[in-house]
Structures are given as structure tokens and as C-alpha cells.
Symmetry: C2
Subunit: 140 residues, 2 copies
DNA sequence: ATAGTAATGAGAATGAATCTCATTATACGA
DNA sequence: TCGTATAATGAGATTCATTCTCATTACTAT
């Protein structure tokens, strides 16, 4: 099974388990998110889905976030980005060019290890976000 | 010399080197940021400084950011936070409770080492931001 | 099929951040 | 010290991502 379908179906399952209905608009938001390999904004989703209202897009994102299916990321622009969170836990982080706004995903095993070693009493840690800032080759 | 004064004077020097004037409103923004040990929002700064306009607060923050004196952080609320960046490079990151919004700073040497070992060709890395999300004791 | 209610979407409202522009303050040379 | 150039300011308007409202629609279970 492709990774997109895997996530879509996992999402459908959690949605059902949460007692939510299987509605077409929310389903389309899920499918669009499933196709993306990196972050996309709420307004991009809204624009891509004719017939799906803005409010529905934001509501769907909020629910997916609460179910741990989607992750909100600040990529330096004027809007937040959202990307699916694989059930395996496998994920990437981002490098942002502070001059032109270009975003590149990256993965780093040592970084993940260091993060997983962090414990703070009084806090149950769930997710994390790492963003590196700098200047890309074109802007240097 | 206290760390606040150290940063204030460092900021004053960079402001001067950049050819900017030593204006009272901008100076007051700098001093307020110097007093904080963690992030504060632009509107909190504006509210704390009577006689200093909102536009001036945002402009000052933008300039300080460009000079590498201030760091913008997304702490999950409706507005961004800003905190001073010590000339020594010494800094902390944040743990956020996704339920109540509580923010706690933390430092981790191994994490910093892992981040400094990250290199990406075509990118000159400057700063980084790490945010851990979870649930605090009160909300668990 | 029907009832019960979750979900939707158009549009209004909110609010952080940005922009405008007339006025003021600062730096610097005379 | 004075005058000039212009950086900087602040009130208010504006933008625009996000949230809210509420009448209507569409799931789902019976
Ligand atoms: Mn749409
Ligand atoms: Mn103010
Ligand atoms: Zn990670
Ligand atoms: Zn760090």
C-alpha cells in the first residue's frame, strides 16, 4: 500500500473511532493532505477544493490535529503550514531561507535521538518541531 | 555587568553600526526586551510602553530581528513571541502545553550538539528553533 | 423512509500585523 | 549653537489569515 493510502485509511479509522461521520468535504481535505509530501496552508487547501468551504477546511484541520494526524508548522510565511503525521512516527523537519522563504525538508537521526532523550518532569511530551533558519545558495 | 545590560549595550552598538539613530521609543523597546527572561509578544510590548506606538514596536522588532538581536518564536498562541538573543549564542528552547498554553523554557546540550552537526549544502545555517509539545501536569 | 444531529458553507467578525502619511526628533556640519 | 536633511515616529486605516454565526444539508442508525 502506498504511504498516502496508508495515512488516509489510518485517518479514516481514527475519525470513525472518534465518533465523527464520514463526510465528503472532510474526506477531500484528508485526501489532499495525503498527497502532499511537505506542508500546505489552509488557504491552499481551500483554493484547491472547489465546493469545500473555508470554515470546513479549518475545522477539518483542527480535528485532524487533535487526533494527532496532522502537524502545524511555522515556515516563516504569513500563514501556517500543515502536514500529515505518519502513524509510524516517521517525519521530517524544515530548513527555511529567511531571505526568499524557500523551504526544504530534512531528516536527521541524531537529532531525533537527542530529542527523544529529553525528559521534563511534569510534562508528557508528544510531538516536536525543529526549524533551521539561514540563507539559501541563491540568496547568499 | 548584568546580562540585561550586556545585551542592551550590544544592541545599542549594532544599531549604531547599522547607521540607525538612537531614538527614545526604540530604546525603550530594547530595554523592555532586555528585562525579559523568555518570550513576549509585540502587543504586550506595545501595551507596556505608553507613548510608544504599535507601528514603532513592530518596526523595532523587525530591525532587531534583522540584526540578529531578537528571535521570533511560535509558542502556539495567537501571536508570535520575541526574545533577545545573547551575543554569546547561549539560548533556550520551549516546551508548550497544547491544552492550556503554558510555556516552559529548557536547555539541552546534546540537542544543541546534534543541531550544530547538521549541514545542508546550498544553505548557510544561522539560527534554529525547537519546540516540544505535550501536556503539562495540570492538564494530564 | 424518518428522525436526530453532526457537518457544512456563505458571509460576517475578529485581531495580529502591516501600511500611510503628516509630524517630530536626531545627527551632523557649518 | 543653529539649521538642515532625513531617520523615526504614532494615530489610524488597512490587510488578510483565522474564527465565528447560523440557516441549511447530509450522515447514520433505527
Ligand atoms: Mn474551497
Ligand atoms: Mn504602546
Ligand atoms: Zn523530529
Ligand atoms: Zn538551540
Amino acid at each position: 500500500m502506498s504511504e498516502e493510502n496508508e495515512w488516509s485509511e489510518y485517518a479514516a479509522r481514527l475519525i470513525a473511532d472518534a465518533g465523527l461521520r464520514r463526510s465528503t468535504p472532510r474526506q477531500r481535505v484528508i485526501e489532499l493532505l495525503a498527497e502532499q509530501s511537505c506542508a500546505i496552508t489552509a488557504l491552499q487547501i481551500d483554493a484547491a477544493l472547489d465546493g469545500v468551504g473555508r470554515a470546513t477546511v479549518y475545522r477539518a484541520i483542527e480535528q485532524l490535529e487533535e487526533l494527532g494526524l496532522v502537524h502545524k508548522v511555522d515556515l516563516g510565511g504569513s500563514a501556517f503550514g500543515y502536514e500529515k503525521l505518519e502513524p509510524s512516527g516517521h517525519h521530517h523537519h524544515h530548513i527555511v531561507c529567511d531571505d526568499c522563504g524557500k523551504v526544504e525538508p530534512f531528516e536527521d537521526e541524531a537529532l531525533e535521538d537527542a530529542i527523544h532523550d529529553i525528559h521534563r518532569k511534569g510534562f508528557k511530551l508528544e510531538t516536536h518541531e525543529v526549524t533551521l533558519h539561514g540563507h539559501c545558495a541563491d540568496c547568499s
